[in-house]
């Protein structure tokens, strides 16, 4: 009886349509055909039901559970799902916290795990005393309290936020043996709710000579960035809520500038002032930090965009596959220039590719989850993903990227970001023993 069931499952397994080298299976096998996959998983290596222990009630089923708290926290068994910190003792320098993508699924980064970078600690801001001033080349300078802004028409949008220096370890000349959290943890995605900046600028009026806004935070470095008026009138928002609740302190409580698709540092947190001016301020962060040196010695200025990008979160570096069989390759794709159009996945280091399934809804400038069924035969494999966006931009291969942008002469400190705006392909090498490592391919 059992033998017969296994034989049937084995037949289904063989029937799964392989669409690219090294065992990639048609993404449509994921959609509405779960029975086939479920049957296939058990093929050959499935456990036998013979001699199984009878099910028993565990202690938690036999006693009253814990009290319901006013603000609920996750299970204590999830305590290892945390951000990694660059400066846990708050020494006098900046602090980064990276999102553990390899331990998450879907497209929403929980508020407690959203990446943050703060340049002078996290200010403790009394929301009743905080003010946002808009002034400079306007008809009427205005001051807004949080209470006043909360009475404006609110808009919500899902948007990724990425540090311009995310993925900086990928500039290393050799693949750094680090997790997806260390390599790509300075990007997250949330639903942001607030007031469109264009609504407020309509009330202040804009002098036609105004081309830039200088945004400034209420944190101790008074962090300052210049933003084109063009972006301010497009999709910029004064964000007040993050995934439905007020902003996390590290994400800019009580209000921040949100510039969908633009480098994180420009999305000024603890926002207290917007000054409209004719020319950019050339603040330190724009004229030095986020101006990337190029191989010929010149440097980019005003990069702004976080370009089309994807990476596989599972399997990824540090994981171990438990024997041959069916797995789901899962990852994140996003682009600062619109919606993700498609994601291709390779299991043979880019020799052949197959199209991944995209989780709906696919939203502009937001995380898109892609998935791909894969039958690992137990041999070496190299997993890659490559994304296209609706504007026609394609994620470059590492060779294409390095040819233009160069690479470092030695591996950088993994927590530093001495380079910016890396968006090319990430490769995970799967060894015959199931171990997954970061490789270049």
């Amino acid at each position: 009886m059992n033998k017969s069931a296994n034989r049937n499952a084995g037949k289904s397994n063989q029937d799964l349509p392989v669409v690219a080298g090294n065992g990639l299976i048609d993404r449509r096998a994921l959609l509405g055909r779960g029975v086939i996959l479920a049957g296939a998983v058990g093929a050959g290596i499935g456990p036998s039901a013979a001699g199984a222990e009878p099910l028993a009630d565990d202690p938690w089923s036999l006693e009253i559970g814990e009290a319901t708290p006013p603000y609920q926290m996750r299970s204590k068994f999830e305590a290892k799902v945390v951000r990694t910190l660059s400066n846990p003792n708050n020494e006098p320098r900046n602090s980064h916290a990276r999102t553990p993508h390899h331990l998450l699924e879907g497209t929403t980064t929980p508020n407690g795990l959203h990446f943050t970078i703060n340049h002078g600690g996290i200010p403790v801001i009394d929301p009743d005393k905080h003010r946002l001033v808009i002034h400079g080349l306007v008809k009427q300078p205005l001051e807004f309290s949080l209470e006043a802004l909360s009475r404006y028409p609110q808009v919500s949008r899902v948007s990724f936020l990425e540090c311009g220096g995310n993925s900086a370890p990928m500039f290393s000349p050799e693949p750094m043996q680090e997790s997806v959290q260390a390599l790509h943890g300075l990007v997250s995605c949330a639903e942001w709710t607030g007031v469109k900046l264009s609504t407020l600028l309509e009330e202040t009026g804009i002098d036609p000579n105004a081309k830039w806004l200088v945004a400034e935070g209420a944190d101790s470095p008074h962090l300052s960035r210049s933003v084109p008026v063009k972006k301010a009138l497009d999709d910029a928002m004064i964000a007040l809520y993050q995934n439905g609740e007020r902003l996390m302190p590290g994400n800019g409580y009580p209000m921040r500038l949100l510039l969908p698709g633009y480098e994180g540092n420009m999305n000024v947190k603890f926002l207290r002032r917007l000054k409209l001016v004719e020319q950019p301020a050339m603040s330190m962060y724009e004229s030095r930090t986020y101006s990337q040196i190029l191989p010929d010695g010149k440097a980019y200025r005003f990069y702004f965009l976080q370009e089309v990008k994807s990476f596989i979160t599972s399997p990824s570096h540090g994981m171990a596959l438990k024997g041959p069989g069916l797995y789901e390759i899962s990852g994140i794709a996003y682009s600062g220039t619109g919606r993700i159009e498609k994601v291709m996945v390779s299991a043979d280091g880019g020799k052949s590719w197959a199209q991944a399934a995209l989780q709906e809804p696919v939203q502009s400038k937001a995380f898109t989850r892609f998935r791909m069924p894969w039958r690992w035969d137990g041999g070496p494999a190299t997993l890659q993903s490559r994304a296209w966006d609706e504007a026609g931009n394609v994620q470059p291969t590492r060779a294409e990227f390095v040819a233009v942008r160069g690479e470092l002469t030695k591996p950088p400190p993994v927590l530093a970001f001495p380079n910016q705006h890396y968006n090319s392909i990430t490769s995970w090498g799967v060894a015959s023993n199931g171990e997954v490592k970061h490789v270049y391919a």
Partner: protein
Amino acid sequence: MSTRKRILLAASFVLATTAGVSLAETPHLGKPVDEAAISSWDISILPDGTGLPKGSGTSAQGAPIFAEKCSACHGDNAKGGLAGALVEEKKISGISASQKTIKNFWPYATTVFDFIRRAMPFNMPRSLSDDEVYALTAYILAENKLIGANDTMNAETLPKVKMPNRDNFIIRFPDRI
């Protein structure tokens, strides 16, 4: 007016408003303020010198201030310590940000004043007088031999400092400005 015309008019109004034409009704809950009331917050400096305050300072005046308030992190004579060096003689070699110095990379001297005034000292930002900020700016620029040892920095002279790397930048996406 016929019913049909009224419907068309109503429809065109809806089109006009959804197309981003100004709505008559926004909440108007902002409190009007004048620039005088904002001046204590308004520390924005533009590279042409717009926004630079009155006051002045020299390298000689800046040296003791640096030793007292800055050297604990930036090292003696600004050669680097817990925080980065501010006086460094090296050419850019390779693409790492560690290659960037004030002298070989920063395009505008006004940025030195701006950053000191808004963010330094790290543990006591906004505690320096404008004269002290000018003096520290003069000290850093003079030690880097970007100005003369006896030059005075003020709202007139600072924007005129020629930074060697100024014309070495490429605007990445000009159509986004």
